[in-house]
C-alpha cells in the first residue's frame, strides 16, 4: 500500500484528523476506569513521567534515583555495607522477616541483589542451612530502625533473633 498520493488533499486531511481522534481516544479516554487499558498504561508509563519530568530531573545523583526506584531495597544495603567489619560474616535474614518492615518486597535479602547494590561481601543467605552457623553478624530490624548485631553483643539475644527470622517461614 505504497501508492504515491498527494500529501495534502481533502481526503488526506480528513484521515489525519481521524488519526488524531484515534490517538486521543487510545491515550486519553477511559484511563481511570477499566474500559481502556491503553490509556491507563500510557498514563502510568509515559504520562506520569511527562508530568513530573522537571522535578525528576532535579535529582542529578544516581544515588537519589536509586533510592527513588528501589527505596528500602537500596537504603538498607547502603546502611549495612559500610558498617561491616573485615571479620564479619553476615547472615541475611529471610525475605519474610524483611517484608514485615517494608512496603515493597525485601529483595535486599537475596545475596545477588545485595551484591548488585553494594558489591561482594561475606554474606550468607538464610536458606543456606549448611553455612548458616558460620555467620557472626546479624541484621535486626524494628519499625524505623536497623542495626547489625554480633555474637556476644549485649542488647540482642541471637537465638531469639534467629527464631524470629524463622517465623512465617
Amino acid at each position: 500500500m505504497t501508492d504515491r498520493l498527494p500529501v495534502m488533499s481533502r481526503q488526506g486531511v480528513i484521515l489525519a484528523i481521524i488519526m488524531v481522534g484515534v490517538i486521543y481516544v487510545l491515550i486519553s479516554v477511559g484511563g481511570d476506569s477499566d474500559a481502556n487499558p491503553y490509556a491507563a498504561s500510557y498514563q502510568s508509563r509515559i504520562g506520569l513521567y511527562a508530568e513530573k519530568r522537571d522535578s525528576l530531573n532535579k535529582r542529578r545523583q544516581m544515588s537519589e534515583r536509586m533510592f527513588a526506584r528501589h527505596v528500602a531495597n537500596y537504603e538498607i544495603p547502603q546502611y549495612i555495607a559500610p558498617r561491616l567489619r573485615p571479620t564479619d560474616t553476615l547472615l541475611l535474614p529471610p525475605m519474610s522477616y524483611g517484608n514485615r518492615y517494608m512496603r515493597d518486597k525485601a529483595y535486599w535479602t537475596d545475596p545477588r541483589f545485595f551484591a548488585w547494590m553494594v558489591g561482594f561481601h561475606n554474606v550468607i543467605p538464610w536458606n543456606d542451612a549448611a553455612r548458616r552457623s558460620q555467620a557472626n553478624a546479624f541484621i535486626v530490624l524494628e519499625p524505623n530502625m536497623i542495626w547489625i548485631a554480633r555474637r556476644g553483643s549485649r542488647n540482642v539475644n541471637i537465638d531469639s533473633l534467629l527464631t524470629e527470622y524463622g517465623r512465617e517461614q
Binding site: S41, F120, D128
Partner: protein, 457 residues
C-alpha cells in the same frame, strides 16, 4: 571519549556490520526494512565478537568495547565484491512518501521514543530478574574485566545463583557494551532495540495495508500496555521478540517471494533470538517444523528439509556457544537446569494451558484489545472467504502457543504469569500482522485507498 560520542560511533559501526551481513546475504528487502534490521543484526554481531574475545580471555575494557565493534563492522564487509554489489543497488530502490496520518502517528511514536530514551537514561536498572542476573553479571564483568567474574567465583554467592545469571547472553553483553561506554545503568540499548523493532513492524504493516489502518494497528502494537514499559526496562524478552518477529516475517517473505536471501537473513534473526532467550530454540524449531509443509508446497520436501537442517544447525551452534561451550569449558559453576526438568505430564500441561489463556492471554490489562479482536476478525474472514489468508503467520502463532505450553509444562522455572507472560511479546506483533493480512482488512484497505485517490470503486 564522551558517552554520547561513543554511543553514536558504536551505533554507526553496528549499522555498518548489520548492513554488511544483509548485503552479503542479498535478501530482496527495501531500505526501510534493511536499516532497522541492520542495527539489530549489528548488535548481534557485536556481542558475538565480544563473546569471542571473552573466550580468548581478552580483558574486558572500554577499548575492547570499541575494537570489537570495529571488528564486527569489518568482518561481513571483507567479502567486498559481493557486498559492494548490494550496496550499489540500494540507492536505486523505489521511494515512498509519508501521508499526513503517518506524520501524526510518527509524531506520537517519536514522543514515546523520547520518553523511552529519557527513562532508560534516567532510571537505574529496575526489574528484579535483571538486577540479579543480566546486569549483575554485566556490572561485575566490567568491574573485574572478565566474564568469569565474582558472580561465578565468589564462594558466598556461587551456590545461590539460581537461573538469572545464566540467561542467554545477548542482553547481558549489550549491558556490558553500554556500561563500558560510560552509561551508569547501561540499558540505553533497550529503546534503540524498541525503535528498530517498531520501525520494522511499521514498514511491514504499511506495506500490507492502507496507511490509516496500518497506523491504527501499529498504535495498538506500540501502546500494548505490557510491552510499553519494556521499551526502557532491561529484560531479555523484548529483545528476543525484536529478533524473533523479523525472523518469522522474513521467513514468510522468503517462501512467498521465493527469496533465498530473506531465508538466510531470517536464519540470522532466529539465531539472534536463540542468543537472547534460552527457550527460543524450542519455539523456533517448533515453528520451523510446523511450517515445513508450507515450505515444501512452495518448493519441494527435499528442499524444505535441507533448509530446515541447515537452519537448525546454525541456531544450534549459536545456542551451544553459550549453553554448552561456555558453561562447561569456562564457568566454574553451572545452572541447575536438569533439576528443573519435569518431563511431560498431561495434567500439568492442562493446568499450564488454562493458566496461560485465562490469566495471561485473556488479560486486557496486559495486551489491550488485540487478542480479543483477532479471533473475531479471523473467524469473520474464514466464514466470508472460506480460506485462510496468512497461513504462515497462523502456523507460527500456533507453534508459539504450543511451545509456551510445552515449556511451561517441562520446566519448573518457567512460571506462566512471569516467564511465559513476557514470552507473549513475540505473539502480539505476529497477531497484529496476521490481522493485517485478513481479507476483511484488505478489503477495507482497498476501499480507503480508492476513496482517498478519488476513485469510485
Amino acid at each position: 571519549m564522551n558517552t554520547t560520542v561513543s554511543l553514536v560511533i558504536t551505533l554507526l559501526l553496528q549499522l555498518v556490520s548489520g548492513l554488511g551481513v544483509i548485503a552479503l546475504l542479498r535478501p530482496r528487502i527495501t531500505r526501510s526494512v534493511a536499516i532497522p534490521s541492520a542495527v539489530l543484526i549489528g548488535m548481534f554481531m557485536h556481542t558475538l565478537v565480544l563473546f569471542a574475545c571473552a573466550l580468548a580471555s581478552v580483558e574486558i575494557t572500554r577499548s575492547l568495547g570499541m575494537i570489537s565493534a570495529v571488528v564486527a563492522a569489518v568482518l561481513p564487509n571483507l567479502a567486498w565484491p559481493r557486498v559492494s554489489k548490494s550496496y550499489g543497488e540500494w540507492p536505486a530502490m523505489p521511494k515512498w512518501s509519508l501521508s499526513l496520518s503517518d506524520i501524526v502517528t510518527l509524531g506520537l511514536a517519536s514522543y514515546l521514543a523520547y520518553a523511552a530514551f529519557w527513562a532508560a537514561w534516567y532510571w537505574p536498572v529496575t526489574p528484579f530478574d535483571a538486577v540479579v542476573g543480566i546486569d549483575l553479571v554485566a556490572k561485575t564483568a566490567v568491574e573485574d574485566g572478565t566474564l568469569v567474574n565474582r558472580v561465578f567465583t565468589d564462594p558466598f554467592l556461587s551456590q545461590h545463583l539460581s537461573n538469572q545469571p545464566f540467561y542467554a547472553p545477548f542482553a547481558m553483553f549489550l549491558q556490558v557494551i553500554y556500561r563500558l561506554m560510560g552509561y551508569a545503568s547501561g540499558q540505553m540499548w533497550v529503546p534503540i532495540v524498541a525503535v528498530c523493532f517498531m520501525w520494522f513492524t511499521w514498514v511491514e504493516l504499511r506495506r500490507t495495508l492502507h496507511h490509516v489502518l496500518a497506523n491504527v494497528l501499529w498504535l495498538l502494537l506500540l501502546l500494548t500496555p505490557e510491552m510499553l514499559g519494556y521499551t526502557y526496562l532491561v529484560q531479555t524478552d523484548y529483545l528476543n521478540a525484536a529478533m524473533f518477529v523479523p525472523g518469522v516475517l522474513l521467513f514468510w517473505r522468503a517462501i512467498r517471494e521465493d527469496d533465498r536471501g530473506s531465508m538466510w537473513l531470517s536464519t540470522v534473526f532466529f539465531a539472534a533470538a536463540c542468543w537472547s532467550r534460552t527457550d527460543a530454540i524450542i519455539l523456533v524449531e517448533l515453528g520451523l517444523i510446523a511450517s515445513l509443509p508450507l515450505v515444501a508446497r512452495a518448493s519441494s520436501w527435499k528442499h524444505a528439509t535441507q533448509t530446515f537442517v541447515v537452519q537448525s544447525v546454525i541456531m544450534g551452534v549459536v545456542f551451544a556457544l553459550w549453553h554448552v561451550l561456555y558453561f562447561n569449558a569456562y564457568l566454574p559453576v553451572r545452572p541447575s537446569t536438569s533439576d528443573q526438568l519435569l518431563g511431560f505430564d498431561l495434567a500439568r500441561a492442562l493446568t499450564v494451558s488454562t493458566s496461560l489463556f485465562t490469566n495471561v492471554i485473556a488479560d486486557v490489562d496486559y495486551w489491550g484489545w488485540v487478542f480479543l479482536v483477532f479471533p473475531v476478525v479471523l473467524i469473520a474472514d474464514i466464514v466470508r472467504q472460506r480460506k485462510i489468508e496468512t497461513p504462515m503467520l497462523l502456523v507460527w502463532i500456533g507453534a508459539l502457543l504450543v511451545g509456551f505450553i510445552v515449556i511451561g509444562t517441562i520446566f519448573s522455572a518457567a512460571i506462566v504469569e512471569q516467564t511465559l507472560r513476557r514470552g507473549i511479546f513475540k505473539l502480539v506483533p505476529l497477531v497484529v500482522l496476521a490481522m493485517a493480512g485478513t481479507q476483511l482488512l484488505q478489503t477495507a484497505s482497498r476501499y480507503l485507498s480508492n476513496w482517498e485517490a478519488g476513485r469510485t470503486s
